[in-house]
């Protein structure tokens, strides 16, 4: 019978993982390695090996955990997001550290009451008597060819709620460090992964491979330093940015949507004087809107150009491949925006 570690025993049960044979680690295996150390996982269809679309979804992450830790700690649940999120929250009330997996965050809509009212607000509403150390994870945002009901980005839905923390990793290093931080954190955390990134490999340092590697929540990372413009991005969008060149842009990988690292963003804008925010989700009330407001409030006089927001099209995601491509920001869109911000091309208004 597996010992169930309490919150306090968290540190002791982390063991050293496999020695680094290769320095490449895939995004999904990085996440999986962290989950090996979690205590309680809830997801349905754990044994399922394929899913909607070609990308095998979230299952690769939890594969192997059931065999290793047994059905008591890795639960294959009936299909009710509201149900298994509710019981996860209940278990967290009692003292376990559950990790609840959604096949995609689109399905978390059926459980959002438990995420917001039962998890996020509980510590406050109970005056500190009920702490909820739970992690909700799963793929978020657009995949490929999965239609509107499987493609929405929920970063802002959750990031608007006090009491929640919202994280979004870009590469393997992020996946590993942030997920560990999320599980260790005593507050409820929404961990937004990206389905298309599961299969990608990224180079990682030895430090990342160390079993105690953990990233701080609330700190963004400057993926690339620059001086002409600041580009903020998270999750898959960051990948696009690194390929772009021409303008020496400073690319900030947000990592943490809530709390947002306003200090890093503002410091960068004060250096470059121009800002382009990039996200996959819908434009209205998006992450870019919040970053723009923050920069306008704190660094207004440093801005030499209006803030450019790049976001997905303000439509439910269409299925047809050509339409889908048009609905999601492409590298070219960001390049054009960066050029506008640097006055190397005609501003949008002048073309109207």
């Amino acid at each position: 019978m597996l010992a169930i570690a309490r919150q306090r025993m968290l540190g002791q049960s982390f063991k050293k993982i496999l020695p680094a044979v290769s320095v490449l680690r895939s995004y999904s295996s990085a996440a999986k390695q962290v989950i090996f150390f979690t205590f309680f996982i809830l997801a349905h269809n754990l044994m399922h090996t394929d899913m909607v679309g070609e990308y095998q979804g979230a299952y690769k992450i939890t594969k192997g955990l059931l065999e290793k830790y047994g059905p008591e700690r890795v639960l294959d649940t009936p299909i009710t997001e509201a149900g298994f999120t509710g019981i996860g929250v209940g278990a967290a009330y009692y003292g376990l550290k559950p990790v609840v997996e959604f096949m995609t965050f689109n399905f978390s809509m059926q459980a959002i009451d438990h995420i917001i009212n039962s998890a996020a607000k509980s510590n406050y509403m109970s005056a500190g008597q009920i702490s909820v150390p739970i992690v909700f994870r799963g793929p978020n945002g657009a995949a490929a060819g999965v239609g509107a009901q499987h493609s929405q980005c929920y970063a802002v839905w959750y990031a608007s709620c006090p009491g929640l923390k919202v994280l979004s990793p870009y590469n393997s290093e992020d996946a590993r460090g942030l997920l560990k931080a999320a599980i260790r954190d005593p507050d409820p955390v929404v961990f937004l992964e990206n389905e298309l990134l599961y299969g990608e490999s990224f180079p990682v340092s030895d430090e990342v491979l160390d079993s105690s590697f953990c990233l701080p929540i609330g700190k963004a990372k400057i993926e690339r330093e620059g001086k002409d413009a600041t580009i903020t991005a998270f999750s898959k969008m960051a990948a696009e940015m690194l390929e772009k060149d021409g303008i020496c842009a400073e690319v900030i990988n947000l990592r943490s949507i809530r709390p947002l690292d306003r200090a890093t963003i503002n410091a960068s804008v004060r250096k470059t004087n121009r800002l382009i925010t990039v996200e996959e989700g819908f434009p209205q009330h998006g992450v870019g809107a919040e970053i723009c407001a923050s920069v306008v409030e704190e660094s207004f006089s440093y801005l030499d150009a209006p803030v450019e927001r790049i976001a997905g099209a303000d439509v439910p995601m269409p299925y047809a491949a050509n339409l889908e491509r048009m609905a999601v920001p492409q590298v070219e869109d960001i390049v054009r925006a960066a050029k506008r911000a640097c006055y190397r091309s005609v501003p949008l208004a002048a073309t109207a």
Binding site: F84, G86, N117, S126
Partner: protein, 479 residues
């Protein structure tokens, strides 16, 4: 005095009505039902590895279910496999007769009770758990206390001293008896009409009143509306408010208790209206699949605000819903303190020893309005309310029984009532005069540690309050 007799047959007798349901084939023989009270209540159950879904679980509703969390019973009967359908979920016999299981039966599930309306033990009935003087007097006193507190606090709301209140009139026994039947280690997840349970566990009148006034002594730090009590000290989870959210949570907490192998269970309350929520289905189904030690107590009080049960569901109340999930269930008279006590004692034993959920439907009419925002005379007759208020009052009924035992007198009654009234008036006076929570509490507990933006915001707010103190109420302490 009736003693705790014949455990198994007594309880089963009430449930045998279900055996009238049409049984299918050889495999349908009902061997005394799956609600048989364990004969060895002390046996601890070993934790089972979760079985594959296709093993043991019912293909037919009426097969004998295992009583303990042991390995699933093999189906012994038929050797001629071609007469049975071997299907995921288990073997099920075929039939050539096309017959639908009826949606309802002429005879409804009977309601278990111990006391008659006159407060006397029912003749011939002896199937209940004995209650000694000390316990009975505490139960009765708490029921009276709850009734008086409700009366005073309802009035306080009407006078504008608090913003909102919900009474438990008619349901005093339905909430105090379960608490009396549990231990302090059992975790209670209320809906919102169970202050009786919290009262039993030792929450003081002052604490109740402080919460309603939302002052700085409120254990809830003024975060919640009145009657949204919570106390981790008393194992009473803070009232969440949205209906039925506590049911899946209860299954999760019970699963955690099970992992800990604690001699404790979870008790989740829900109303008749709450059984329509999606969370009811999820919670009960999960608890059954996880084999979690949770007691679901449905306080069927006949009304979900203004919706009568006839508009809520078309089943025979709530008790029959348990069977759909594979959960043993009982219907009990919620105005009968002894019946509720016995049923919960038995349910608790079943839940813990057999590591399984149990459903208890308690019938007790909601005498009061839904809340202070409701006027129930708009949708039900005064006669109906009056009848339940006077002729079927659970407090009166129990008092008669306690008096018949020689454990209570008129003098005791007068003393108790005057004492409670005095304490309550004092508590209200004190609560009203106490300051509201300090400014700090606006910003604490959002997260485990205050985030930088809130620290900064609090600092800025203090500066503003200090600078423009005339714009802010004087009863908000800055400390």
């Amino acid at each position: 005095m009736a003693s705790w007799g014949r455990r198994s047959s007594g309880m089963v007798h009430h449930i045998k009505a279900l055996s009238k349901v049409e049984l299918r084939g050889k495999a349908g023989a009902m061997k005394g039902g799956w609600w048989r009270y364990p004969l060895q209540p002390g046996v601890a159950s070993a934790l089972v590895p979760r079985s594959w879904p296709c093993v043991n679980t019912m293909a037919s509703l009426f097969l004998v279910q295992r009583f303990k969390s042991s390995l699933p019973q093999k189906q012994v009967e038929d050797d001629d496999g071609d007469q049975d359908l071997d299907f995921p979920g288990g073997k099920v016999a075929y039939t050539s007769e096309m017959k639908f299981i009826s949606g309802s039966y002429d005879k409804r599930i009977p309601c278990y009770r111990v006391l008659g309306d006159d407060g006397e033990l029912i003749k011939g009935g002896s199937d209940f758990e004995k209650v000694n003087k000390e316990l009975a007097v505490k139960m009765y006193s708490d029921m009276v206390c709850l009734q008086i507190m409700d009366t005073f606090m309802y009035e306080a709301q009407r006078q504008g001293r608090i913003s909102f209140y919900m009474t438990s009139f008619g349901e005093e026994a339905a909430t105090i008896s379960p608490a009396a039947a549990l231990t302090k280690d059992d975790i209670i997840l209320p809906q919102y009409r169970e202050p009786g349970a919290l009262l039993w566990r030792g929450f003081t009148l002052q604490e109740f009143v402080n919460q309603c006034f939302g002052n700085k002594d409120d254990g809830g730090k003024g975060r919640q509306m009145p009657v949204h009590y919570g106390s981790s000290k008393h194992n009473f989870v803070t009232v969440s408010s949205p209906i039925a959210t506590q049911l899946p949570q209860a299954a999760g907490m019970a699963y955690s208790l099970k992992m800990d192998k604690k001699d404790a269970c979870v008790v989740a309350f829900i109303g008749d209206g709450g059984t329509s929520e999606g969370d009811f289905h999820a919670g009960l189904n999960f608890a059954a699949v996880l084999e979690a030690p949770v007691i679901f107590v449905c306080r069927n009080n006949g009304w979900a605000i203004s919706t009568p049960t006839s508009d809520q569901f078309r089943s025979d109340g709530v008790v029959v819903k348990g069977q759909a999930y594979g959960i043993p269930s009982i219907r009990v008279d919620g105005t009968d303190a002894l019946a509720v006590y016995s049923a919960i004692r038995a349910a608790r034993s079943m839940a813990i020893n057999e590591q399984r959920p149990v459903l208890v439907e308690s019938l007790a009419y909601r005498v009061g309005h839904h809340s202070t925002s409701d006027d129930s005379t708009k949708y039900r007759s005064l006669n109906e309310i009056e009848h339940w208020k006077t002729d079927r009052d659970p407090v009166n009924k129990f008092r008669k029984w306690v008096e018949l035992n020689g454990w209570w007198s008129e003098r005791d009654e007068a003393d108790l009532r005057s004492s409670i009234k005095k304490q309550l008036l004092k508590a209200i006076q004190v609560a009203e005069g106490t300051e509201k929570p300090p400014l700090t509490e606006l910003f604490t507990d959002v997260y485990d540690l205050p985030p930088s933006n809130l620290v900064e915001q609090e600092k800025l707010l203090r500066q503003t309050v200090n600078k423009y103190s005339h714009d802010f109420p004087s009863d908000v302490s800055l400390h």
